[in-house]
Amino acid sequence: MIKVSLAPSARLMRRLSMGVALSAGIMMLALTPAEAAKTTLNLGMSVEPAGLDPTIAAPVAIGQVTWQNIFEGLVSIDETGKVQPQLAKSWDISPDGLTYTFKLQTSVKFHDGEAFDSTAAKFALDRARGKDSVNPQKRFFASIASIETPDAETLVLHLSSPTGSLIYWLGWPASIMVGPKSAADDKTTPVGTGPFKFSTWAKGDHVELIKNADYWNKDGAAKLEKVTFRFINDPQAQAAALKSGDLDAFPEFAAPELMSSFDGDARLATKVGNTELKVVAGMNNARKPFDDKRVRQALMMAIDRQTVIDGAWSGLGTAIGSHYTPNDPGYQDMTGVLPYNVEKAKALLTEAGYPNGFTFTIKSPQMAYAPRSAQVMQAMLAEIGVTVNIEPTEFPAKWVKDVMTSRDYDMTIVAHAEPMDIDIYSRDPYYFNYKNPAFNDLMKKVQETADPSEQAKIYGEAQKILAEDVPALYLFVMPKLGVWDKKLKGLWENEPIPSNVLSNVSWDE
């Protein structure tokens, strides 16, 4: 009797204990990833890159995924905008500024195992400067006359004219080192020397990178095992993905008006840094009445930059007085040169022969900052009797055709993304139609020296000329609006060059 009655209960016990062990096991499995330090990152970007090779197409999103993560350069640019050695451990510039001798790192390998040496470096530079090159920054390499490779770790560039910015330019995404065997396929399967390797690209959704276990630089090795770049275009969707925890970080959040919605969030922190994006209202300096400096000055003085920043970008952003940002070496605050002064603006217009003002059209791209800035400017220019018509102009296609190529416009408004591109005012042709020999001389002089303090001085003079001449109305520098998990460390708060450098990023435990 007893035996019989015991049997089922023993079976029951065994079953129960099995069940307990099993569920404990499942619970442990479920807990393990949460308890161990997190090693993955989901990072959001507004724009999906067009291809993954920054040496054959211009969109900044390409560099924002690949630069410093997959690809590296002879040199790199750090968070403060300074040039640092990378695949070249040192370099030497001849006194006449015409010969650059680089000493390269040894035992560096591309992700496919191909060695990086002076031959590979020569290949990458020749590809960028060659006849069939479609490098968007081909002009960077224009002064390179010939390249020598005396041995595997020495690379010598012979220049046709001194190029003081060359070292800085070599740090750009467009100047990264690509492998002779893999370069042709970098557009879809990028192969570099960086701390992360390309894994997958689900077009329209995400790009995945994984840690490069064989990375050459032990100090710069990736701390994360896996990074997923997710592309979310709609600002509301960006905010939702952050709040629901689908994303850990959005380094360049697209909607300033939604930034305050993260206030008080227990998990997320917001950061406001500087970018290189200069929002300027360029004028056609060859067209009446903008060919008259007094008119341009009057327009500048009629605009209160802070009101533009408040109206266009929720008060987030830094006012500028020339084509230069606080990130750039030798920056000087030029906002006081032509400060907001309606009376003076009116007087200048009268002096120039427009006592009753005039009417013009501003071609405004569809990016949120442009129409909003244009509307605020429209209201302020009405105060001095100037009537502004706003013409929505699709960017990039129609804008590039109308403004860049045909230069058929009165005024436009656009954020210039390239770092240190003050030299665009010396380019001929360029859409401003601005011609000033004194300014062109400065841009030539800056290339004749590689001394940073000398360069900073020249850039200071250049800023002054632009602030007084106002070939474009200088409005503000876009903020870098970062939203990320409070436990995440190592993301750049400022952006001296468009990027998402992830080698130093890790989770706080």
Binding site: A58, V134, N135, H206, A237, D246, P396, A397
Partner: protein, 315 residues
């Protein structure tokens, strides 16, 4: 019957050819050049020329049209300028999101609308009819992208039950993929369901007044037998017509909802290609949409023949 089918098929081919010509011409008229967009604002004219040559954009218009058409016939839709991969692969990848999304939305909308519409007609003026009227009016009036936002706020950011957007891919497993598609499908289905409820209701009402329905009632058949056996099957023609239209609308018109949910669907591909002037992708996607509309119409016509013997006779 066969004559009719071959006539329809020939018409279909000619329509597609004409459509392809129109697409090509319209794309060529669009301002903006893909090469200059890819190279940005710093490129020199010679770099631009090099890229235009590489992409074949320096060829005359007619030659490019001929090359494209020949490619389409041989199954080679060309290479995307911006992605650098074959367009056919891109379209297939995107269809793997858009087609299931459209199908779930259609099924949802049928499941909601058909019983509601039929019952509303059967009990005209009753409580179900009132509910159906209110439901269809609200769901037609409310835009899908707004429903999408409300769903995200409720189920993702507030309750944390659903992903706020994105698509993990089918290789991530059936459940996560379906989960990612559920809220967008609901947002898409609601306005469709509103339209379909109305169509179903009026189609059933119309059919109930036909002679055969009256005869069936006179024969003494029960109300529900008359309704489901005689009236509903005969009311299917207008319902199917609307369904066919809705399906093509869902595939081609889901752009806004795909944007809100950040789904890598065909609509987003088209939008992205347009802004980048990835003309070859645009051409292929628009041709695909056009083909889909034409083929769906053809299928709807065929299904008329299947469900309505009178039409078979007429054919």
């Amino acid at each position: 019957m066969i004559a009719l089918l071959s006539r329809r098929l020939a018409g279909l081919a000619i329509t597609l050819l004409v459509v392809s010509l129109v697409i090509f011409a319209v794309m060529d008229l669009l301002p903006g050049d893909p090469a200059s967009i890819m190279l940005g604002t710093s490129a020199s004219p010679e770099t631009l020329a090099a890229l235009r040559h590489e992409l074949g954009l320096d060829q005359p218009l007619l030659i490019r049209y001929g090359q494209w058409l020949a490619g389409v016939f041989s199954g080679n839709l060309g290479q995307s300028y911006t992605y650098g991969v074959p367009v056919a692969g891109l379209i297939v990848e995107r269809l793997a999101v858009t087609l299931p999304l459209a199908m779930i939305a259609i099924v949802l909308s049928v499941v909601i609308a058909l019983p509601l519409g039929v019952l509303a007609a059967a009990r005209r003026g009753g409580i179900v009819d009132a509910i159906a009227t209110v439901f269809s009016q609200i769901s037609i009036a409310v835009p899908a992208f707004w429903v999408a936002l409300l769903l995200i706020i409720l189920f993702s950011t507030t309750l944390g039950l659903m992903p706020a957007g994105g698509f993990p891919g089918w290789d991530a497993g059936l459940l996560p993929a379906l989960q990612a598609l559920l809220m967008p499908a609901v947002a898409l289905a609601l306005p469709q369901a509103g339209v379909l409820t109305r169509v179903a209701r009026s189609a059933v009402l119309d059919t109930m007044h036909e002679d055969f329905a009256r005869t069936a009632v006179a024969k003494g058949l029960s109300r529900s037998t008359v309704l489901w056996r005689h009236v509903v099957p005969n009311a299917l023609v207008p319902i199917l017509t609307i369904l066919g239209l809705q399906f093509t609308f869902l595939v081609a018109g889901a752009v806004l909802v795909e944007n809100v949910f950040n789904l890598p669907g065909l609509g987003r591909l088209a939008l992205q290609a347009l802004s980048q002037r990835d003309i070859i992708v645009m051409q292929d996607v628009v041709l695909f949409f056009a083909g889909l509309v034409i083929v769906m119409n053809f299928i709807v016509d065929l299904s008329y023949l299947a469900i309505d013997p009178r039409m078979r006779k007429a054919a």
